[in-house]
């Protein structure tokens, strides 16, 4: 079975890569961090960066399509060096299953490095510059290495997936535990414009450098989204368990499109990484404007303020201007 899966993937890739169109995006960002904030950010508080660059390709051959994304980005500003990261973000074969599709539309096995269907992270297309809550708080990775079953619900009333991963995200080559991570996801579209979504992730992770002691790593999320005409409103609840440490948070997001070119955006995040501790939470307020200058150029202006329950910690804020250009 393993061999036939690998044969399908390699065969499809070899046959069709030569014809694969290449496309993608780059994000050029200017960030101005408030210089009155803590010392560790003031040393490099005003900078241009290419936070992300996607080089993508996709081939479609029935019943297998193969696609990939290479993520090229400037190394973190914290290194203060002109380093660049080049890594695979996605490398997957989508194998449409015969016969199953008669009952479950678009049912497929997804093999390889792929999107994690969880909470809002698989829907988040960066209308504001901050990552989705679970990604921003480092509770979930947006991509991982493994095998998935994914299907649409009949009539286009939603989608469901079951995924098995290494559980260490797309940056890590190998897993660091003796168990696989499992992720289940169900989204329902009861009426046009309303999406309800629930996701559950369970895994184990090692304590320290060895894999001898493993503790539970559980994530769960519920999402509701309303989209009609120029308005999008969404909310997500996120919970986490890491051994006996429980975290919880939520996010609210709204977008209003003034016309085809301009939209106003706002987001509020709250995250408490350990609900047992006092003064441990923080919140994040984001306000933004998007201007679609052309089909290939989106300009985004964001103001982001992070405040901490711990009164000894100063709030931090920054202004970001980003140009997302596609090709």
């Amino acid at each position: 079975m393993k061999r036939s899966i690998i044969m399908v993937m390699l065969g499809a890739a070899a046959l069709s890569f030569a014809d694969a169109p290449i496309y993608g995006y780059f994000w050029l960002r200017y960030t101005y961090e408030n210089p009155s904030q803590p010392e560790d950010v003031t040393s490099n508080a005003n900078y241009f960066s290419i936070e992300r660059g996607y080089i993508r390709w996709k081939t479609s051959t029935s019943p297998v399509s193969v696609s990939g994304t290479i993520d090229v980005s400037q190394a973190s500003k914290a290194t203060n060096k002109s380093d660049w990261n080049v890594r695979l973000k996605y490398a997957q074969a989508d194998w449409t299953l015969p016969h199953v599709g008669d009952y479950l539309p678009d049912a497929k096995l997804i093999l390889g490095l792929q999107k994690v269907y969880f909470g809002y992270v698989d829907r988040w297309e960066y209308p504001v510059l901050e990552k989705a809550l679970e990604d921003a708080e480092k509770k979930m990775n947006s991509a991982d290495l493994g095998v998935s079953f994914h299907t649409l619900l009949p009539g286009g009333y939603g989608e469901a997936s079951g995924q098995i991963f290494n559980g260490t995200g797309y940056s890590s080559v190998t897993e660091n535990n003796a168990y696989k991570a499992a992720c289940g996801n169900l989204s329902i579209l009861p009426i046009a414009g309303i999406m309800l979504k629930g996701s559950y992730w369970m895994s184990k992770k090692p304590v320290g450098d060895t894999i001898i002691t493993q503790v539970d790593e559980i994530r769960y999320a519920g999402v509701i989204q309303f989209r009609k005409g120029p308005v999008t409103i969404a909310g997500e609840y996120l919970g986490s368990t890491d051994d006996d440490v429980k975290g919880m948070g939520y996010t609210g997001f709204a977008e209003f499109s003034i016309n085809k070119a301009f939209s106003l955006l706002g987001r509020y995040d709250y995250w408490d990484g350990n609900t047992e501790l006092e003064s441990n939470a923080h919140n994040r307020v984001i306000a933004g404007v998007n201007w679609k200058v052309a089909k290939v150029l989106l300009t985004q202006l964001n103001y982001q303020l992070t405040q901490y329950e711990n009164e000894e910690r100063d709030p931090s804020d920054k202004i970001m201007l980003q140009f997302k250009y596609s090709y």
Partner: protein, 263 residues
């Protein structure tokens, strides 16, 4: 005074001009253009823009709300419906006509009919010469490009999902397919019924020639409905336009453009 009148006239045009955009299938383009023109003649305040691009392009435009009506020569896929619903768009299918996919060859070709089985064998690359079917010479396979609804309908109705041979020449419109077949001895292609002309020869498929009668009575195998999708039930100007399309005059235009009326 003249200036005032001119400003008033411009303002009234701005205020009262009603706009509608139709985008999508090149197969449906002749119906969309002809009905839009006739509708605007009767309704001078209406301003209808008609664009092609293919069924997939039109449906994508409906999903991101950049068109009011998506014309399509295939039904929307479940994936597209789900995406539309998530985006707050409730796609409603309006079947405005029926169409047959005519299998066409160069006029010099001795063949006048083909079985559905042989047609599939040609398009998957198993039959490469007309000699194998009682004709002569090499078969030049012409197809619509993969973004076209006609391609998807042909793929489903004639190929039953089998992979099209890599030898096929993929063209962007029905008109290009008809022209290329007319100019290329040994060529075979497929187009919407409205594109069949005296310059090319339509083949009988399993003994049945595509015609309004054989499409309506279901005997011609390669038949399909023609759609115009809207976000919800058509209202306002879109509603009036559909009333016109389904009227006696509208359906006569459907027939004049080579399609089969549904009313």
């Amino acid at each position: 005074m003249k200036k005032m009148l001119l400003i008033g006239l411009l303002l009234s045009v701005c205020v009262f001009a009603q706009q509608l955009t139709i985008q999508g299938s090149t197969t449906v383009l002749p119906i969309a253009q002809a009905t839009a023109e006739a509708f605007m003649d009767d309704n001078p305040a209406a301003d209808i823009t008609v664009r092609g691009g293919g069924s997939g392009t039109g449906i994508a435009a409906l999903i991101d709300r950049s068109t009011d009506i998506a014309s399509s020569s295939r039904p929307m896929k479940t994936k597209e419906i789900a995406k539309a619903r998530e985006n707050g768009v409730n796609p409603v299918a309006n079947i405005i006509a029926m169409d047959g996919i005519a299998v066409i060859v160069n006029k010099g070709n001795a063949i006048s009919q083909i079985s559905a089985e042989d047609l599939k064998k040609i398009y998957v690359g198993e039959i490469k010469r007309w000699d194998q079917l009682g004709g002569g010479g090499t078969i030049v396979i012409i197809s619509r490009d993969a973004a076209s609804g006609t391609f998807e309908a042909f793929n489903e109705l004639a190929l039953h999902g089998a992979k099209l041979t890599d030898a096929a020449l993929m063209l962007a419109s029905n008109l290009e397919v008809a022209r290329t077949v007319a100019q290329t001895p040994g060529a075979i292609g497929y187009v919407g019924l409205g594109y069949v002309s005296d310059d090319i020869k339509a083949l009988k498929v399993d003994g049945i020639l595509p015609s309004p009668e054989t499409i309506n009575n279901g005997t011609y195998a390669l038949a399909r409905p023609i759609f115009m999708y809207t976000d919800g039930k058509p209202k306002g100007l879109a509603g009036k336009y559909f009333d016109f399309v389904f009227s006696k005059t509208g359906q006569e235009i459907v027939e004049e453009t080579g399609f089969v009326p549904v009313k």
